[in-house]
């Protein structure tokens, strides 16, 4: 609860900061300090120090998992600020508003991480989505950005409508908004309830860009300013996953056998579409967009099988995926454009960055010794443990092998191609930060308990 209110207030504060503070660096400082404060507030909250006592009437429930995920997303946003906050200046004049919107998104993330009522879920999803529509279109002079924003808005509104319909049907058949197994058990299994669950499944699949509801993702990720793409494709996506998994694990497990196969098919499709299409991309940004779809496929496996492995795995996955993707994007932002040729001979100009990027790419590809491998491993293990869907596991690992192809293409051009000189300028602190992130990826890949011990 602490973090929820703190982020909301901080969002408003950031809105006004441009009136009070004249220098961009001051605004940035305020945002970073505010985020640190939010982090501390959340950690205090999880250890029993509550700043506010509000009766939420059982519509939200903060368990250890929720606290932990909130901490992770705040931490990742913190890294995002450190890596790319400076780049936001180049997008437009409303510097402080971007921060305000990001804080509001965080607010929504906290809601979807802790809801126990469908209303809060809906509220959270909307609070996340609406600022995102604005951020997507924030590059006002760019036609692609405008197009992406409109596309995202229309399709997002459409999926929200489907979700509302699902909620309505759920309510109609159970007479309650609360997300509990007992509610579903008590209701007779009517077609109405099943259709409601199905609609919720589809709309949430849309939010996490799972095939065949993924069509918006490449265009939006490609059109949005790169800085915000990196935020959208990582932290926001992770939150959507948590909401998805929370919803289905809390409420719909009694009907698991009805929807599990559908989820399995969605996973297989997502993996297939994401990986195969990514192979053919020439722009790194678009490739990363498809790769994020492909990674969704793996993350959805946590939905397919609920057990300790999937709970630990999804958190590890989120951290590994977010850090790696943000790292790659933070370098991509500094490039002139996002074509693959830009990376030619990168290792020669920026050896440190090239090595860090290599670690990130290896992690995304799921090579051992990186956090990416262990998180994929956890997912496979979770599904294997649940006993069914062996075909899916084999298919998934084959698709992981396909993914090596496009991730390694970047490594190849970085190390083995000559360049025609154009090189990016980065500060020493940026290099240190990126190296630190690479080290985090490797350390988590060898010893994930460092992260997962907090879950107990």
């Amino acid at each position: 609860m602490n973090a929820l209110i703190v982020t909301a207030v901080l969002g408003v504060m950031m809105m006004f900061s441009s009136i009070v503070l004249k220098r961009n660096s001051a605004i940035r400082m305020l945002a970073i300090v505010g985020l640190l404060f939010t982090f501390i507030a959340n950690v205090l909250d999880s250890s029993g120090v509550h700043f506010f006592s509000i009766n939420i009437k059982g519509m939200m429930h903060f368990d250890q998992f929720a606290y932990f995920f909130i901490s992770i997303s705040i931490f990742c946003t913190f890294i995002f600020f450190l890596l790319s906050a400076k780049e936001m200046e180049r997008i437009g004049v409303n510097y402080s508003e971007y921060f305000a919107l990001i804080f509001f998104i965080l607010c929504g993330i906290i809601l979807v991480a802790s809801f126990t009522s469908l209303l809060i879920l809906f509220l959270g999803i909307e609070i996340i989505s609406i600022p995102l529509y604005i951020l997507t279109g924030s590059d006002k002079k760019n036609l692609k950005s405008n197009e992406a924003s409109l596309k995202y808005f229309l399709l997002g509104a459409f999926s929200t409508g489907i979700m509302l319909m699902g909620i309505a049907l759920f309510y109609g058949s159970t007479g309650s908004f609360s997300v509990e197994n007992s509610v579903v058990i008590a209701a007779t299994t009517s077609p109405m309830l099943l259709i409601g669950i199905l609609l919720l499944l589809f709309s949430m699949s849309f939010k996490v860009s799972a095939a065949p509801f993924h069509f918006w993702a490449p265009d939006v990720y490609d059109g949005a300013p790169t800085v915000f793409t990196s935020f959208m494709a990582t932290i926001v996506k992770a939150a959507a996953f948590i909401a998805f998994i929370r919803l289905f694990s809390l409420a719909f497990t009694p009907l698991q056998d009805r929807w599990q196969l559908i989820v399995a098919v969605i996973i297989a499709l997502t993996l297939f579409v994401g990986n195969i299409t990514a192979v053919f991309q020439q722009s790194v940004k678009r490739m990363l967009a498809y790769s994020s779809i492909a990674q969704s496929g793996f993350m959805l496996m946590a939905l397919l099988a609920f057990n300790t492995f999937s709970v630990e795995g999804i958190l590890l996955y989120i951290v590994a995926y977010s850090i790696s993707t943000m790292g790659i994007f933070s370098v991509l932002v500094k490039m002139k454009d996002s074509s693959l040729e830009e990376f030619n001979g990168f290792a020669k100009h920026q050896p440190v960055l090239a090595v860090a990027l290599t670690v990130f790419l290896l992690s995304l590809a799921g090579i051992p010794l990186t956090a990416g491998f262990l998180s994929k491993f956890y997912m496979l293990k979770a599904v294997m443990h649940s006993g069914n869907f062996l075909w899916l596991i084999i298919f998934a690992v084959l698709m992981a092998a396909v993914s090596v192809y496009y991730y390694f293409r970047i490594i190849q051009v970085m190390f083995f191609k000559e360049s025609d000189s154009n090189t990016i300028i980065v500060s020493t602190s940026f290099k240190w930060l990126l190296s630190a992130l690479a080290i985090i990826i490797i350390v988590l890949g060898v010893y994930p308990q460092l992260l997962l011990q907090f879950l107990v």
Binding site: P368, F377, L398
Partner: protein
């Protein structure tokens, strides 16, 4: 302790080498580290030959049921020794060659060594998988950075191939783990598994593809000749001398004892047939090659084929023969590559048509070359003979093969063919008239002489006095056959 050092020493020095900017310093550190590793490995074989010293175990990912468990058993000793001996030889023989960004080159070589050591030591399936991939990554970078013209495509093919195979293996390993009683990845739990036959069959397919790609077995071999040709020779030595042994090693340690009935079911019907086809095919191709590198690559495929058949014959003789041959073949082929490397460095070509008459110009090289070539044909008194003889008699007396005579005969033909192509190569290169390129040839330098003499010594030592190696591998072979052999299992 010994086991841990074998992994840690190359790992740490490898990482340290990245930060050495001077080429000479990096070279020296790499050589020093590899020599130290060799000393440790030999010490582990002789002085500190106690079980508690040869193993190391630490908690790692307890939630996943895995432990960092490494141990040196007989087969591990032999292969670690091979790895430990090879690297100093490789470094010494290629001492003259200079590399761009040499520190990275040597660092990656040492990391590859650490990975290989780990594969041979791992007693936990997940640790095994970790090292299996860890050995691959440095080799990928080595080949694509310092290789020949078409290096990127060739290396990429190799990488995708092996990665696809190994993730399939991962699926099988995870499945096996969920079936174990104590949900652990440890090798003992795997050995105790009793899995239904039909499930064993497809698990076998998943795992065997990974190993078959690595060996490489026909028809998964297409990456190999390209890669051997394109990668820098010192990396090719690692690849062909040690890395392809990972596949065979994996079959012996992880596949055969874990999935005995599937190994029995597929052993003769599929694997042996593929291996025989591969052997004949590779031998015939080797006869037609005009390039030393490609010839050696194909000869390697042919030799590997025989070893695969011998593994699935599941007799004590064959099993020990394979283990010895794993060692001997590694040594021999590294010897051959050292000569290839020297010829390439000196004359800029490895084509037979452009070489010839080296016997007059480089007598020392020629003698050593002939010795190694004969060992590769497995002439008596050389190390190759010991392994191949054991394998042949093992296959011939195999109780679980139905057509052992046919298989033995086919394998025999391949040995004859191997004599044909090896001798053809020797003849083309060191006899005949000197060509324009070799007209002013000189003999090999001290480094090559030293490395090649050690190899020749090893060839003769193992060939004349194989008893220590036989003793070393006996227990491991018996143990694996006890777990694996379907006849033993039926008796129980």
């Amino acid at each position: 302790m010994i086991a841990l050092l074998l992994v840690l020493l190359p790992l740490i020095t490898g990482v340290a080498t990245f930060f050495l900017r001077k080429e000479n310093a990096a070279k020296k550190l790499a050589l020093l580290s590899s020599l130290a590793t060799m000393v440790i490995s030999i010490l582990g074989l002789t002085l500190f030959n106690k079980t508690e010293l040869l193993q190391f175990s630490a908690d790692w990912l307890p939630g996943l049921g895995t432990k960092f468990d490494i141990r040196l058993d007989g087969m591990g000793q032999l292969l670690c020794l091979l790895t430990a001996i090879s690297f100093p030889l490789i470094f010494i023989s290629t001492w003259q060659r200079t590399y761009k960004n040499a520190h990275n080159f040597f660092a990656l070589m040492l990391l590859a060594q650490a990975g290989l050591m780990g594969v041979f030591l791992a007693m936990d399936a997940l640790v095994f998988y970790f090292f299996w991939e860890l050995a691959l990554i440095p080799v990928y970078f080595l080949c694509s950075m310092w290789g020949g013209e078409k290096r990127i495509a060739a290396t990429f093919k190799f990488f995708i191939y092996t990665f696809a195979g190994s993730v399939l293996m991962l699926v099988a390993l995870i499945y096996l783990q969920t079936q174990t009683v104590d949900h652990s990845f440890s090798i003992n739990s795997f050995y105790q598994l009793e899995i239904k036959n039909d499930i064993q069959n497809w698990l076998f397919v998943l795992m065997f593809i990974a190993f078959a790609i690595k060996m490489p077995l026909f028809p998964f071999h297409t990456w190999q000749p390209d890669l051997y040709e394109q990668s820098p020779t010192s990396t090719t030595m690692v690849l062909s001398g040690i890395m392809v042994k990972m596949g065979l090693f994996g079959v012996i340690r992880w596949l055969l004892p874990t999935l005995p009935s599937a190994s029995f079911a597929y052993g003769e019907t599929t694997v042996a047939v593929l291996a025989v086809i591969g052997m004949l095919y590779a031998s015939l191709l080797a006869m037609r090659q005009n390039d030393m590198k490609r010839l050696i690559a194909y000869s390697s495929i042919a030799h590997i084929g025989l070893m695969v058949i011998a593994i699935f014959a599941e007799t004590q003789l064959a099993m020990q023969g394979v283990m010895i041959q794993l060692f001997s073949h590694g040594i021999n082929i590294i010897g051959l590559w050292i000569i290839v490397e020297w010829i390439e460095r000196k004359y800029g070509t490895t084509k037979f048509s452009e070489l010839g008459g080296l016997a007059q110009k480089a007598p020392v090289m020629s003698i050593l070359f002939v010795v190694i070539a004969l060992a590769n044909i497995s002439l008596p008194l050389t190390n190759g003979f010991v392994g191949e003889f054991l394998m042949f008699s093992g296959i011939f007396t195999s109780k679980i093969f139905t057509y052992q005579i046919v298989i033995t005969a086919a394998a025999g033909v391949c040995i004859i063919l191997s004599a044909v192509y090896m001798l053809r190569m020797v003849q083309k290169i060191i006899y005949g008239n000197t060509s324009a390129i070799t007209a002013n040839a000189t003999d090999i330098g001290f480094n090559e002489k030293f490395a090649l003499s050690i190899i020749a010594l090893l060839i003769l030592a193992v060939g004349l006095f194989p008893q220590p190696i036989l003793d070393l591998t006996q227990t491991t072979a018996t143990q694996i056959l006890n777990e694996a052999n379907i006849l033993h299992l039926l008796k129980k």
